[in-house]
Symmetry: D4
Subunit: 254 residues, 8 copies
């Protein structure tokens, strides 16, 4: 992508140099340049500027036609595309734009993979407590995969059957970061956190009834985890967990 | 204890028989007898009527002198006495009433053991998650002991160090009922519940800070436990947990 | 069920003895055995290993076809099968798998009784406050029955007509454990608790409106019961209450 | 008390009549008269205008000296005076103003009785669940007595010992209105409500711990009472309950 | 209604008198009589025993056919019948049972008036804040009318147009008790309370959006009213408010 | 509009002057005049009395026919008409009453512009954080426009892309008052507040999921803003924000 | 205050013009200038840059010595100084720095008036509901006065005595903006809002007990006000209310 | 540290090999070995086994003497020691055990640095919003430093003065992970998150008043951040944030 804004400033400074503009006029124009022309736009465009960041389309409230149009415009870039919280109708429409589109029913997501590179240094492990938590876990796993990570998953390792979790402890310790998805009492985050010494990203889910209050019980449990390596994202926010896990696992710049 | 009320009714019926009272007068008097004279008092007096139930004095709001006076009047019965949420000052005063009084600093309780019988069939196991939960766990253990149970305890088996818990799993499986005391995220209840097939009484504690909201996080986690054998009592209610554990463990009447 | 895992370890030890494996190799293999091979699987499989525990299928999110398939695979075992929070459509499909299936409309449950044994020592009594609480009460009663208990029920004994409750007090005192199901203000748990000296399992229901906040009012009331023998499960959790009541009532091993 | 305001209006109308003021000037003056001069002040002064309403001083935030000064100014009226949420220091100061002042330690109130008349038609009954609820119950009873009612009280009739309540059911049915004061699970309101067909004013108290959340548990229980004759006031608001009970019991005007 | 229970006791006493039973046998039989035979049933049956209490059918969860059957059985008594939270379908079915049935669309209620007597001493005034609050206000008014009261109503007197309320202040002061129905900020209860010296029953409604949280804002406002004569019922509980207002207004027994 | 009420009082005073009424009779009649006749009606009618205040119809619960009828009666006045939270069906019906009606789909509002005057001194700027917040922002903008203000809008300036906000900072500083509409974490209100020295009206929206709890997260954030110039209205209350912004921007009377 | 930053940019541009720097070097230096040198600092310094904005010191957590030192450094500017939530000890220390310091006990504030100018166009009226709300109301009034406004106050006009409020309605209508301070049920905001057509800033206070939940009841009531001209600030935030009221009342730039 | 447990198993296997134990006896002994002897202890001891993990002592509830004794026993290891939420008294006592102890007043922490190695790959940046948030920020920074990281800090960069934050944006982009500490509305997390493409750990603090509800407002805001790279820890949990930041920044094993 051509970096136009510094050019604009350079041009302005060139005019000051050759006298087309006085310094005062230069100052005045500088003040009226749109903010991003001064170079700050980069803070927003980091996704496309840095390789491996997918384009993300949050589907709710958008019609299939709208999503398809956005996809079309994004396809030119070589980054992967992730469409979250979507449905089959949207998939069918997007499919007509690109044959690369894949529908992931349980994660309610469409992925369009264009960039096969691996950007992660280690691997990311996603575990969830119950079968009802799988959609959120899948969203996290898909996000991490689309961001160029090797992702391993084990579902249904709730703490009420602790041996199932202990059976995968060895594999867990090889991950660079672990995402734990759990509704109800959310205890899995603490137990996994206690087994490991890598960052654990806990995702409370709205699975439960009665006093789970839409995921509040799980959310509070995770925030109050006795394991020091647990951090928390919003209820059902599988995307956010996969996203941050990818950032943590990313190869360092240096 | 003399059972006066049935006597009163008998006397009344005797007067009906010998004509001192007509049936109509009898009916009228029956209606004006205090309720408990009709035998319902038993529902309230079960504690003293049935062996092994301790007398319990809830200390807050009572002066040492008052507690001592109550103790004095209760000593005549042969049951054990438990004074909860109390302090050294009260203990010193009660000690002058009976040399049997013992102070349990961490449980903030005074016990007066008069009945050495064992009323429990199996044993009760009390575990807690952190050292800060010990006072509540001790209250539960003391209550169960005073109610004639063999009580085993292991403290500081938080889920962040799951092997400590797994180390005692064998002993846990021998208990008839297990009390789990935990603050913060309260995950221990679910993990213990999942290891066992006996009833688990979960006691959330107010230990924690920030979004633990005085024990709410732990309470909700326990109510939403994925283990089906977990029941819950109020925050910090070690007494209640020990009490119900004792009822469960009690030898059956038949 | 054959207990394969100890066999595996025995075989390994046999190879160490006869020199097929050096002790170092044995240690290495031990470390790589799946966790449950070391005997811990038992903690999870207690249900099938111990007689009288039903197989439970939580129906929500499962299609009739899926439930039927699970039922088919479970029928080989001789234990009872309980399908909770289900519907007629599922029943019709399960019915084609086994003629033993029975639908309980008010409890929204399907039962398949294969094990007629009684495992409970005493009896379990289930009471509920209002007619709207009956589905939850029925779920508790069904669960307890399928777990081999004699279960008595009386519905609609709300505290606003206290004499209805007092009329059954005699029967209540004969139970080993009582389940109290109540929405609205949940007062029934305390009143029943006060009448009895056995454990009372309180189930708040989401019945109510306005400031009942989906069962919160009843839940809080039960947790704060002035009766010491009351423990609480999650809102509408009839299954959990019946399950724990069964554990309490179960014949002791010794 | 002289009724000055109508006089002012009359005087004004007199001036219109005799031409001192034109109708237009009269209209203008009417518009600028303070609002209460038009007679609306009475809505505020109903307490002193109608016999039997006490003067109430809410003590918190006021120094003994201030309270004493207010008392002094109120003594001239013949109504009773009630000082709520106060202490001994204030009492000692008020005592120097009038020897009629009485201190009620448990209710934390000072009363100054000047009007011995009975304004209530029937009687008011105040019951409370536990000994810790007595201060609030006493505040309700004192308020009702100072407002000229015959007040009966029975404390410590918690639902966990239902026979104690049933023993006084006869007396309760003779009251015109009943005040029920209860903390913890607040079940007493529903049970009393169910026994009676008169209005029951329920006062939740902040007594309790853990998930009582400062009286919230009791408040919600009372609002969700299954007894249709229960109304509720704020947590610990004994004064309000006694006040409304008095209004209900008051002799009708006609 | 024949009063059988005292007869049973009388018969028993007769047998004691004539020697058919010894006093001991009499005592034993007394203990086994159902509770209500001792006369306590009356506490429950007060509605039918005392004139002017309507029969109330809470419609939700009942099919038109069921409601009609209940109505049929109740018609024999001469009391009024109120069916709450119902619909046209139910009305059409009930209409076939009795031509006296009337449907009140906004109150979602059916009334069947059989008892034209006035049982109230004074009058009851029902006001509500907004047009959306009318259904709840109508339920309160209908309930009070069916219980034999003269009921006056003024709707849409929200505090944002205080003069509309002030215009009816005169009428309000003639009522024996006032019901105030308001959603949103619920301020109307305090303003009406401040204008009057009779009991004010406040009904918060679930009308509002955002931070009204289903009526919580209004409920809390009413509980914290600065007017001492305000008591509160549950959110949207128009029936309860009309019921208690009727109890307050009822002619005294003496 | 003719001002009848003062006339009534004048007429009354005239009768006093000419002796038709004695002053006493005058006083009596004054007391019985409806309250608003004394001039207080003005407090309610301020909208129509003062130019530039639109007539507002809150649509929910009203049928298209009803809305159309209200519109018809309001059209005679020359003020603008705003119908909020409405739909196409209502629009189609209103359109038949007046061709001036315009439907604003995203704001779910109908406007009928009759008064083209500008009543605002400066301009009002409405910004919102995300595309989902636009309906609420549009409601605010429409309201302000109908109240005679110049309104500028920029949508989708969420704080996660702070440069977009900074790009419009210059324009923002020219506004007299700024409305900030944001869901999720509601941070935009604080950032905008910090950039400006004019009043900022913050509107939390219910946009979000999980722990946004229907807008509570955003509401609390805005109430706790570290910027001193931020005030808050109810969740999703775009109308209220636009209304108050108009009041602030209104030309002063003097 | 000298405006150095534009000078720096000018100097840089001057160097570009005269060839000391090439345009490329100029661009590079521009990028490394601290952000505020580009002129954005103004957004922060608006207070001191614009006349009439006071310097505000939030006292909690600062020692008297620290506050005094800050005051000393601020005195050089000619703006007024406001120290909030402070005490006598701090006042005594500040008094030694400047004799202009005044202590306002009820508002817990120190003011140092240096700028006597009036910046407000109209007047600000502050009303509060109860005597306990006065400290917050005083903080609002002091803030507004220090920001150069004519401020009128009337305290203790709670809605339970509505005529007191109606008596000042005339004065209220003359204000440009009204601040309403109220705890308990917070109804005053709606009533005042309904009387006026200017912006009303509502300040909930933490005054109340029980279910006022530290001001939550009042806060929710104000947010749900049925009066469209009410906006809300945080609980007890008198300063914020006075601050925004001043912004609203400020003379327009044009 | 010698690894005894595998040795024990090896010894056992040796005995099997040489016939001292039969395979059956070996199996039996394996079953009775403490759990951790099977190698699971590692999951708990990871801190000491892996270099750079400090020993952490949570001070509340421990007496200075106790803390000193723990410190003494830990000194032998070469790891750093961190004592959190402590005070000067404890420091004075610890100081007598080791001269390396340093007290950090604002962070309320004692550090004992023994391991000067840098374990972090990049740097960690800690920012906080207000001066009151500094103690929590300092705790995070200290923790990260003791875990071998280069830590940069900038405090008091609240969003109300956004340019202060923008001034450090360049430095922020060089960090591997950023910790954001903020009370009140917690908006800083979203703004920082939006500027960067590295993980941001958000720490809500309990700083605020009124509706901040002890940090709840800030917590909810951070959980609902519109920036995808924000994860959250418990209120005031500076230690947890510093801990996880260190894990993220840690050099990869490979």
């Amino acid at each position: 992508m051509s970096d136009m804004n510094p050019d604009q400033v350079l041009e302005l400074l060139g005019k000051v140099r050759d006298g087309t503009l006085t310094p005062d006029q230069g100052l005045d124009r500088l003040k009226h340049l749109p903010f991003e022309d001064l170079g700050f736009a980069r803070v927003d465009h980091h996704r496309t500027l840095r390789q491996g960041f997918p384009e993300v389309i949050f589907s709710p409230g958008k019609k299939p036609e709208q999503v398809a149009r956005i996809v079309k415009s994004l396809l030119r870039q070589k980054s992967n595309i992730l469409i979250t919280r979507t449905d089959v109708a949207t998939y069918n429409r997007v499919r007509r734009v690109t044959a690369k589109a894949q529908f992931h029913a349980s994660a309610r997501a469409i992925t369009i993979a264009q960039d096969p590179n691996v950007y992660g240094e280690g691997s990311i492990y996603v575990v969830c407590a119950g079968t009802s938590d799988i959609p959120v876990a899948e969203e996290a796993a898909l996000t991490a995969r689309l961001m160029g990570n090797i992702v391993e998953t084990t579902y249904d390792v709730g703490v009420a059957g602790i041996h199932r979790l202990l059976n995968i402890r060895e594999s867990l310790t090889h991950a660079s970061v672990v995402v734990v998805v759990a509704g109800m009492e959310g205890a899995l985050a603490s137990v996994v956190g206690g087994l490991l010494s890598v960052p654990v990203i806990a995702v409370p889910t709205s699975i439960g009834y009665g006093s789970s209050f839409g995921g509040l019980a799980s959310l509070l449990a995770m925030l109050n985890s006795c394991a020091s390596n647990v951090v928390v994202v919003n209820i059902d926010n599988g995307f956010g967990a996969g996203y941050v896990a990818s950032l943590i696992n990313r190869k360092r710049k240096n």
